[in-house]
């Protein structure tokens, strides 16, 4: 019995079971938490094979799906060093999302849990898809439940936020769909490895210009999802309006879909295009890093601030990917996980604060550290992590990204590092205005974290420390897989300052 199949089936089963269970009872929650936890433990089984052979797809699921005269599309999923941790991140965070939903969500729990299950189904699919068509399918499948969660349980402007979120994503993904279809009609397959084989066999060659166009098609979808600088307009409003669990998952997991796609598909499939555009993308990423930080500096709302800060952090990921250097890419992958944990924790705690205060306006808080020391320290740790303090997870990712950038093109590192300074500035300022100082009159009721609220926080913190202090339990498969990936794109420029321009003749055979 294929473990990946089980992993994929569990949330789906959970979805239907939750739907079937009676509305006003604890059962939906029960089924949701059980299935999601089960999924988590099942997903642990993915690690072993990956460590054994990180550079290739393991625990592969490859079934015929659409098998007709016109289309042959196989339901092809697989796990390698790049996506294994993302899947574990998903399976870890979904139960947490379910757990906090029982307090954070006030009405219609059943529907919410069902959507969460569907969401997990979509995410696991997105992260493990090997076939482009399958990838696109899951991509949208993950989008829909999130849209419904934001729109149905969100804040005052939920409708606006949800539609904006959906339409933005849709605009990007249709262009990706275009590229996928083109690849299909061009190579006769939509299978990632199949396409790579076709290209590497040299039977079919893309012209550099086509490579660029196709690349941009994919890039549009991923850039909006990440989001990269000028395309981020949907993000703040979505993060602010979404209900706490949705924001938590949106920021922690869903924002990784884009980055993952960039790394998994954009770069290896269209190395020429990637190289042609790399400089521009890096510039955008760096602008995003600094810009997001500066805008975060002056936000008046906690969730907005974190939202902009994650624009800044995600810039690092994109930067790392497009340095095409081992360190940069490793850092990018690591940063995906790290950002998922730290920003997730921040939003989670912001959610509990919102629950207590009924608002996330910074001006509504202040001096709550003595009232809720536990909350304050937990928030502090998450904040330090996202500030990139050593021994906490983000530092590793950011350092490696910067290292890769420095080895590729030093000035990039210089500009990117500015973001690190600013992150301290806005985070500490927010923390000071929220937790420290004299508490505002009239006194606000701010009970400390309850036991059930600690439950989700503790594992997150533990993982932050673990990822930050002992990376060897996570890094080896990532490095190996990335090395393989960079090898495929033949652009592993370790310790090379200037980016080697793709040599035209071979570039045609986009191996």
């Amino acid at each position: 019995m294929n473990i990946l199949a089980v992993l994929l089936a569990l949330p789906l089963i959970g979805f239907f079971v939750v739907l079937a269970s009676p509305r006003d009872s604890k059962l939906p929650f029960f089924f949701a938490i059980v299935t999601s936890l089960a999924a988590f433990f099942v997903s642990l089984g993915l690690i072993g094979p990956v460590f054994a052979d990180p550079a290739h797809f393991t625990s592969v699921l490859n079934l015929p799906w659409i098998d007709s005269t016109t289309f042959q599309i196989r339901f092809h999923l697989g796990i390698d060093g790049i996506n294994v941790w993302l899947i574990l991140l998903t399976t870890l965070l979904i139960p947490i999302g379910v757990w906090i939903s029982q307090t954070q969500i006030r009405e219609r729990h059943k529907g919410f849990y069902a959507l969460l299950m569907l969401f997990e189904f979509g995410l696991i699919g997105v992260f493990s898809a090997v076939d482009l068509f399958v990838f696109y399918v899951f991509w949208e499948v993950a989008l829909v439940p999130m849209y419904l969660m934001v729109g149905s349980w969100g804040g005052a402007r939920r409708g606006y936020a949800a539609v904006k979120f959906f339409v933005y994503t849709m605009l990007g993904s249709v262009l990706m769909l275009g590229s996928i279809i083109y690849l299909y009609s061009f190579t006769g397959t939509s299978d990632y490895q199949g396409i790579l084989n076709v290209f590497s066999s040299g039977r079919i060659t893309i012209s550099p210009s086509d490579s660029v166009i196709l690349f941009l098609g994919f890039f549009a979808a991923f850039a909006i999802k990440v989001p990269i600088f000028p395309l981020h307009a949907w993000l703040p409003v979505a993060y602010v309006e979404a209900p706490a669990p949705a924001t938590f998952l949106l920021a922690a997991v869903m924002s990784k879909m884009g980055a993952y796609g960039l790394l998994r598909f954009c770069v290896p499939l269209f190395p020429v295009g990637a190289h042609r555009c790399a400089d521009w993308i890096v510039i955008l990423a760096i602008i995003g890093i600094i810009y997001g930080a500066l805008v975060a500096l002056v936000q008046r709302n906690i969730k907005r601030l974190i939202a902009y800060s994650s624009i800044s952090h995600l810039g690092f990921i994109v930067l790392g990917i497009f340095t095409f250097s081992q360190n940069g890419v490793d850092g990018a992958v690591y940063q995906m996980i790290a950002h998922g944990l730290s920003t997730g924790a921040l939003f989670l705690l912001a959610g509990t604060m919102e629950q207590r205060r009924g608002s996330t306006e910074i001006s509504d808080f202040g001096g709550i550290a003595p009232l809720a020391p536990g909350l304050a320290s937990a928030f502090m740790i998450a904040m330090l992590a996202s500030m990139g303090l050593p021994t906490l997870c983000n530092f590793i990712g950011e350092y490696l990204v910067l290292q890769g950038a420095a080895l590729t093109h030093f000035p990039w590192a210089v500009f990117a590092a500015i973001g690190v300074i600013l992150s301290a500035a806005y985070m500490l300022w927010m923390y000071q205005r929220t937790f420290l100082g004299k508490s505002p009159e009239p006194k606000i009721a701010m009970p400390d974290l309850t036991l059930s609220e600690w439950v989700p926080v503790v594992p997150l913190i533990l993982f932050m420390v673990w990822l930050g202090s002992y990376t060897q339990s996570f890094m080896p498969p990532i490095t190996a897989a990335n090395a393989q990936l960079l090898e495929q794109t033949r652009i592993s420029n370790e310790y090379r300052v200037q980016l080697a321009a793709p040599t035209a003749p071979e570039a045609l055979h986009a191996r």
Binding site: V295, V298, N327, G367, Y399, A413, Y470, M475, E494
Partner: protein
């Protein structure tokens, strides 16, 4: 040899106090907090005794921390002669200050928090010291920064404390920016961060005459050092850092953390030796900072501020020493400074404690009788920092100055004058505190034994510390030409004594004269009194514009205006087009027929006419 145990004890202390301290009684907290430090102090002694004479560095590899491609960074600890000094200073002085804190913090709430933070600090400081590669050092580096943030902001209900803490962290981050870039370039240049590797690689490389990669690396690292060790222009956070409890000022902002920059450069001496340009920069910044801070110190009225500026100034001396190539002298001064400056702060703390929180010199005076021990120990400290012959400061400072004299005379002269200023303001503070008649309203009383005992021990060190010849101990690592230049010595000592006498004259014999001088100085006085308006300038030139740009231009302008507004505008445009197209649906059959007619004409035209005769 299990070096890792050294930092481990404080870490455990931190975890215990941090997690359970709230429920623990004070004695247990003390036991944990101080015991952990005592243990690591003891263990340091044990290790050193085992490793003596420590000819070659002793390293231990524990695990690979980061491995990505060819880049591999291990979590390694190293101990060598340089480290040994730092270890002793950190754990020893640290222990004393911990003990002192029992008395000083007795009545503060958040007692357990204080000790857990202190222990955490000790942990990171020890990691910093023991680190055998730049990245592990950076871990400690950032960690102590964090702890200083936490401890400066210990009184987190007071916004000035929070502001000071934030300022400290952010300014340090600016330094770390340089440090991080330096690390990145080091990898680029040496493919490794390990001190051993770099040293080995360096021995092969020639001295860099022009401005090359080494100079760049060293300068970037120096930016980090300047941030951590409060050198111009990044010194601004240190005076504000006095917002924290006095033991914190003593431990972190006088004895240990602020000297990390000095330590780091000394640690990388082999690198700096190859980058003369960078060396000169270090020296110039150092000597300038020394003089600059000293001049500000003259007119401060807050006793802790006076000592804070003196710390800045003394750190300047150390950098001067490093810059002129006398690393060991720098480290020497680092050590003695740790003793006497810690003593000064603890003494000041004792005074403040005695006056239940009063810090303003203008409300002190005549305390000599009230608190004799404090008075005498502070006298020793003041003489020592003034470089009075026979006291520890005398040896270390003169080691530096004579080296400077050999290297570049003008630096020596500035340093000597600064020595005078130092002596002056230190004794100004001393006399204003203990001499004349009492100007305050509190009821001064001597501090308890638990506080005075550390004073006495430190006094002993501040006096005798100079007889430990650090340069010799370090000579195998950083050769130091021992050239006792008597003239230079005499000059600086002269300046020192002159300063003391002037202070005596102005603040003990003729207090009125000080007032009249102040009148006569006029604008110069106000300029210095307001610390050259540096903070104001920073605020006006950097902070305010940054906030303005971020809020008005970037957020409201670009983000809401262009990025979001642009997209929404596009949406509105599309909807507008849609609105126009809807107008086709006028509902009138005849119009519809007209459209169909038009369409058919179009179609016939395309199919029936286009292309002409074919």
């Amino acid at each position: 040899m299990n070096l890792w145990l050294i930092p481990l004890f404080p870490l455990i202390g931190f975890l215990l106090n941090g997690l359970f301290g709230k429920r623990l009684p004070k004695p247990v907290i003390n036991l944990i907090g101080i015991g952990s430090v005592a243990l690591s102090f003891a263990y340091v002694l044990f290790v050193l005794s085992k490793l003596y004479p420590l000819q070659a560095p002793f390293s231990e590899h524990y695990f690979t921390w980061i491995k990505s491609g060819a880049l591999e960074i291990g979590f390694d600890l190293t101990i060598d002669r340089l480290t040994s000094i730092m270890l002793l200073v950190v754990t020893g002085v640290g222990l004393l200050i911990h003990i002192y804190s029992i008395g000083y913090m007795a009545h503060e709430n958040g007692y357990y928090r204080f000790f857990s933070y202190m222990n955490l600090f000790m942990f990171f400081m020890l990691v910093l010291v023991l680190a055998s590669n730049l990245l592990v050092l950076f871990v400690g580096w950032e960690g102590v920064g964090l702890c200083s943030y936490l401890l400066i902001g210990f009184y987190y209900l007071e916004n000035f404390a929070n502001d000071a803490a934030k300022k400290a962290f952010v300014v340090n981050r600016i330094g770390d920016f340089g440090f991080m870039l330096g690390i990145l370039l080091t990898i680029y240049a040496f493919k490794s961060l390990d001190f051993g590797h770099i040293a080995a690689a360096m021995s092969a490389m020639p001295v860099e005459t022009g401005f090359g990669i080494l100079t760049l690396i060293t300068l970037l690292l120096f930016v980090g050092a300047a941030g951590k060790s409060a050198q111009f222009p990044l010194y601004v956070w240190l005076p504000d850092a006095m917002a924290g409890p006095t033991p914190v000022s003593a431990l972190i902002h006088a004895a240990t953390m602020v000297t990390a920059g000095v330590y780091m450069i000394a640690r990388l001496s082999f690198l700096y030796d190859h980058a003369p340009i960078a060396m000169n920069v270090v020296a110039v910044i150092g000597v300038f900072t020394a003089a600059f801070a000293a001049s500000i110190g003259i007119l401060q009225n807050d006793i802790k501020k006076v000592y804070a500026y003196s710390t800045v100034s003394q750190l300047g001396y150390m950098f001067l020493g490093l810059g002129v190539g006398a690393y060991s002298a720098g480290i020497f001064h680092l050590m003695t400074h740790a003793f006497f400056k810690a003593l000064l702060f603890l003494g000041a703390g004792s005074v403040i404690h005695g006056l239940s929180g009063e810090q303003d010199l203008r409300h002190m005076g005549g305390l000599a009788k009230k608190m004799p021990i404090t008075c005498w120990t502070l006298l020793i400290a003041s003489l020592s920092i003034s470089g009075f012959p026979g006291f520890s400061g005398y040896f270390s400072k003169d080691a530096i100055l004579s080296a400077a004299y050999v290297h570049t005379p003008w630096m020596f002269w500035v340093g000597a004058v600064t020595a005078g200023m130092t002596a002056f303001y230190i004794f100004r503070a001393y006399f204003l505190t203990f001499f004349g008649k009492y100007r305050g309203h509190e009821h001064p009383h001597e501090s308890p034994l638990v506080m005075t005992l550390p004073l006495i021990v430190l006094a002993a060190l501040a006096f005798g510390g100079g007889y430990i010849s650090v340069p010799n101990w370090l000579s195998p690592m950083m050769p130091f030409a021992e050239h006792q230049d008597t003239t230079a010595m005499a000059i600086s000592v002269g300046f020192g004594i002159a300063g003391i006498l002037l202070a005596l004259f102005l603040y003990v014999m003729r207090p009125a004269l000080a007032e009249s001088l102040r009148e006569s100085a006029g604008p110069l006085y106000t300029l210095i009194y307001n610390k050259y308006y540096v903070d104001e300038i920073y605020n006006a030139v950097i902070v305010a514009p940054l906030k303005y740009i971020s809020r008005v231009i970037l957020w409201h302008g670009v983000d809401e205006g262009v990025v979001d507004g642009g997209m929404n505008g596009l949406g509105r445009l599309v909807a507008g087009i849609g609105g126009l197209l809807r107008q086709l649906q006028s509902g009138s059959v005849r119009n519809y027929a007209t459209w169909i007619m038009a369409g058919s004409l179009l179609v016939i035209f395309i199919l029936g006419l286009a292309g002409g005769m074919r």
